[in-house]
């Protein structure tokens, strides 16, 4: 796997993708004093944030028989069409954004089993949210459980029936368990 520094254009695209969904200035805060790099495998680029002091180690030629697999804090994955945030970064994101959907205990449990969010599970939401918007899904203990895509404008949620779909599950922390079978 190849490790590369990110050029400014790619970082700008990723920043824009994050900020369009979750609010202005967030990518800068996530970056802090770290540097973005990418590990490329086929057409997937996994984006990591690393301290500057690691540069000499990670940018050196990797000896034969060794390959980088993961480096530092995982920000997300860039595929052909879009950038997807990593589950690892979500607790950091939660401190920076109001684009959240708070769900009941039952809704939270279903969500971590890969299910989507129905109206009956909703406890709180930002009334400004729009259809298609990515939101962090949070339980009543303020734990971030994953990301959902809103299937309706927030202002219409009140008019929906209890069993209507409100948020489509895009990724949830149950993946950690499901991935390992």
């Amino acid at each position: 796997m190849k490790l590369q520094l990110l050029d400014t254009i790619e970082w700008a695209n990723i920043s824009q993708s994050i900020e369009t969904e979750f609010g202005e200035g967030i990518s800068k805060k996530l970056l802090g004093d770290l540097t973005p790099i990418a590990i490329t495998e086929r057409d997937i680029r996994t984006i990591y944030l690393i301290p500057l002091s690691w540069m000499s180690v990670v940018l050196e030629e990797v000896p034969a028989g060794f390959d980088f697999h993961l480096v530092g804090k995982q920000l997300g994955v860039m595929t052909k069409d879009r950038f997807r945030l990593s589950l690892q970064i979500l607790p950091d994101m939660l401190k920076l954004t109001t684009k959240v959907l708070i769900v009941s205990r039952r809704g939270a449990e279903a969500f971590t089993y890969g299910r989507s969010i129905l109206k009956e599970s909703i406890v709180w939401y930002d009334p400004e949210l729009k259809r298609g918007q990515r939101v962090l899904v949070v339980n009543e203990d303020n734990d971030c459980l994953g990301i959902a895509a809103l299937s309706t404008d927030a202002e219409r949620i009140n008019r929906l029936s209890q069993d209507s779909l409100v948020g489509k599950n895009l990724v949830d922390i149950g993946w950690f368990i499901r991935r390992l079978g």
Binding site: W54, P63, F66, G72, Q88, F176, I177
Partner: protein, 325 residues
């Protein structure tokens, strides 16, 4: 007991308890009949479930309170900073709880947690974790270092890298560099770490209480094969370690050939390597004369976990330092 009597006794016990006879024969020579029977009995008992609270994701008190709310009472393990026993028999498996998915804890055996506590990694150090998957020790090292410095985790197996990656992400570890590669060739990385943890891939003879198939799945040739690989890995690790650095060598085998014999040969090859005492109160002393073979006296400073004495899986832990030239 004569050799013939010993063989006969071993054959009977092996049949009775479902082991390969060579294993029982070795236990009888190593421990005598009374202790062998205690060992065989202990291996039939389930081990207590233990977890490590991951302070990178949550405070201990928060986790204790939340688990109590789910009817799981956590009981502190005396010599461990973050280790707890938990009784999950009346509930879901420990891996199914939300707090586990959130990375608030790692389900981990007591000896595994102990190896990292023995290594005692400090903030801002550079630490190698060799044969690192599935990542229990890598994430524990990062926790002890408060996500500062660097943990270089090396793993060769592609499938096992996935579990290592998952656990690193779940536990919020951000100071890890994971390499896929052969731990026997780490000198090529050209990095001299302050500390190394080598929990070497082994025959797993200590895991019988967790995996009864181990009673019959490995021959003596397998033990020798593992011992050769362990020797090569420890040799490579010692060569890479910085002067005044610390290395912890461990296995989940109870065979002296994979433990004390390996360390003894390293002590002979590298005079600058010394075994140091482990300032934690657990287990029993390493062997200095297993099967009548005289080994370095300092091996008594190594520690062993044994199912019949400690109620854990069998394990060996040895802490060494590399003296400056």
């Amino acid at each position: 007991m004569s050799r013939k009597e010993l063989r006969e006794k071993a054959k009977i016990l092996a049949k009775e308890h479902g082991y390969l006879p060579y294993m029982i024969e070795r236990y009888l020579v190593l421990w005598g009949e009374k202790e062998t029977l205690q060992f065989l009995e202990a291996c039939e008992k389930p081990l207590r479930t233990s977890i490590r609270v991951n302070t990178l994701r949550a405070d201990q008190e928060v986790v204790i309170k939340r688990m109590k709310g789910k009817k799981i009472i956590l009981e502190r393990i005396p010599w461990l900073d973050s280790g707890f026993y938990g009784d999950f028999t009346e509930t879901s498996t420990p891996g199914a709880f939300l707090e586990h998915m959130l990375g608030f804890y790692y389900v981990q055996g007591v000896p595994s947690m102990t190896t990292v506590q023995v290594l005692d990694p400090q903030p801002n150090e550079t630490v190698f974790d060799l044969a690192a998957a599935p990542g229990g020790k890598t994430t524990h090292i990062a926790q002890q270092m408060h996500n500062t410095g660097r943990v270089l985790a090396i793993e060769q197996d592609r499938q096992r890298l996935n579990s290592l990656e998952s656990n690193i992400l779940r536990c919020g570890v951000t100071n890890a560099i994971v390499y896929r590669g052969d731990a026997k060739k780490i000198q090529a990385l050209n990095i001299q770490p302050d500390k190394i943890l080598l929990d070497a891939p082994c025959s797993g003879e200590g895991l019988i209480p967790l995996d009864p198939t181990r009673k019959t799945s490995k021959t003596m040739a397998d033990v020798h094969y593992c011992a050769t690989r362990e020797n090569e890995m420890l040799d490579a690790a010692i060569s890479t370690l910085a002067p005044e650095g610390t290395i912890v060598y461990s296995t989940c085998s109870i065979a002296p050939e994979e433990n004390e014999y390996i360390v003894d040969s390293i002590l002979k090859k590298y005079p600058e390597i010394k075994i140091v005492p482990i300032p934690l109160d657990f287990g029993s002393a390493g062997y200095t004369e297993p099967f009548g073979v005289h080994l370095d006296e300092s091996l008594r400073l190594a520690r062993r976990f044994l199912p019949h004495q400690d109620g854990t899986e069998g394990f060996f832990i040895c802490k060494m330092i590399k003296e400056a030239a």
